[in-house]
Symmetry: C2
C-alpha cells in the first residue's frame, strides 16, 4: 500500500577516474529520465509495478488489484484534484517527443544522469513505454489530503516505487521531489506518506529529503467483512 523508496544515491565517482569503459562517454554512461503524468495506457505497467512493490513489502496476500480495477477507478478526475500518477521513464537516448506527452497541467520533467556503468535491465521488454526506446522504471501515486490544523490541503503519497535495477541513482528522489514541488506550487501545506518501521534504508532516505518520521501515530484500518458489516449501520 505504501511508499517504498530507494536509499540515497551513492557518492559520485572520485575525480580523476580515467579508466573509461568501452562505449561510454568521458562523462560515463548517460541515462535520460523523464517524469510525466500517467495515461490510461500505462495501466499494464503500473499494475506490474504495484505487484513488485507488494513483493518487496512482503504483502502479496493483500494484492488483489487487476488492470481492470485500476482502469475503472483511476483517471476519473483532472490531475492533482484526486488520484494522480506520475510515471518515471528512462532511456539511453534523449527524450525528444515531449509534445506527445505534454499536458498543460504538468509539463514533463527531464533529467540526465551520468552513470559509471550501464544498467542491465532484465525486464526491459516487459516495461517498454509505448514501443519506443524508453522503459518505465517507476511511479508515484498521490492525492490531496487535508490538514485541519493548517486549514489547507496537502498531498498524500500512497506509493512511490522504482524498479530494483534503477535504484540508488537518484530516481526515487526525483519522483518525491516532483510531488513536493507540485505541492509548493499549489500552496499546499504538507506532503505525507507512510513507511514500514523495518525499512531503515527508506527511513534514512526520507529523513535526508527533509521529512520527519512521526513515531506516536498508528494507522487504523476498517476493511473486508468488518467494513461491510456497516451496510445497515
Amino acid at each position: 500500500m505504501a511508499a517504498a523508496a530507494p536509499p540515497p544515491p551513492p557518492t559520485p565517482a572520485p575525480e580523476g577516474f580515467n579508466d573509461v569503459p568501452r562505449g561510454s562517454t568521458p562523462m560515463g554512461y548517460p541515462l535520460f529520465s523523464r517524469i510525466r503524468l500517467a495515461h490510461p495506457t500505462d495501466v499494464p505497467h503500473i499494475h506490474k509495478l504495484i505487484h513488485q512493490m507488494a513483493v518487496f513489502e512482503h504483502l502479496t496476500d493483500l494484492f488483489v488489484a487487476t488492470e481492470s480495477s485500476l482502469s475503472s477507478t483511476l483517471f476519473t478526475s483532472p490531475p492533482f484534484q484526486s488520484f494522480t500518477i506520475f510515471v518515471l521513464e528512462v532511456s539511453e537516448t534523449p527524450f525528444v517527443e515531449h509534445l506527445q506527452c505534454n499536458n498543460s497541467a504538468y509539463p514533463p520533467t527531464v533529467k540526465t544522469h551520468n552513470l559509471d556503468l550501464p544498467i542491465d535491465d532484465p525486464e526491459r521488454d516487459l516495461f517498454r513505454s509505448n514501443g519506443g526506446d524508453a522503459v518505465v522504471a517507476g511511479f508515484v501515486l498521490f492525492f490531496p489530503n487535508y490538514s485541519t490544523f493548517l486549514g489547507k490541503p496537502g498531498f498524500y503519497i500512497e506509493d512511490l516505487f522504482v524498479r530494483e535495477c534503477y535504484r540508488r541513482k537518484g530516481l526515487g528522489k526525483m519522483l518525491l521531489s516532483a510531488v513536493a514541488k507540485q505541492a509548493v506550487k499549489m500552496g499546499y501545506g504538507r506532503v505525507e506518506w507512510v513507511v514500514l518501521d523495518w525499512n531503515v534504508n527508506a527511513i534514512k532516505f526520507y529523513e535526508e529529503m527533509g521529512a520527519k518520521v512521526l513515531q506516536e501515530w498508528r494507522i487504523c484500518r476498517l476493511t473486508g467483512d468488518a467494513l461491510n458489516a456497516y451496510v445497515n449501520a
Copy 2:
C-alpha cells in the same frame, strides 16, 4: 490532525432502575441526534471544534487554521469526491426541519438516545446551530484515499471529534458508522484513520468497531521550510 474519539459507551442502566429523576420520561432523558453534511455556514463551529481537538491532543502548537483558511479550502467539490464534513447536532427536542438540510447526496441520519441524566452543556450558546434548539456536538472530516493493492478507493478520516460533555453516549460511534456505511454504499474498500499510541481509550473503541491497528507503519511528513525548499527542485 487526526481522529480523537470517545471511549466506548458505558453499559446501559440496570433493569429495574425506577428512581426516575424529576423532569425525565419513564425512558430517561431523550437526546435527539442528527448527522448531516456540513454547510459553509458551519465553519465557525467547525473551527472551534478543531481547536478543541488540538487542545485534547496536546498539539495546539500545530494549530494555525483560521475560519477564513477553512472556508477557502473546504466545500470546493461535491460531497464525497474530495474533503467532506459531517456535522453532528443534538437537541432536546426532535428534529423536524429535515427539508431545510436535506441533500440528495446524503439525507440526514437521525437517532434518539435515552439518557439517564440530562446533559449540562456549558458551551450551548457557543455551539447553537443556526439559531434553533440544536447544538453542534461534533464532526467528522474525511476524503477519498486509494489502495493500489485493492485497486479501489477508500475513505480516510482526518478528524473525528465529539465535544467532551457529549462523549460516552454512542455519538462517536454514530459518526464513524456514518462514514463506514457511506464507504460500503460507494463500493469502497477501506476506511482508515490514525490514532495516537497513548490514546488507549480510542484504540479500544476503534477495535470494538472492527478496525485493526497497524503497528508497523510510521507516518512521514514533509512540511514548512523543508517542503518549501522544493520550490526550485
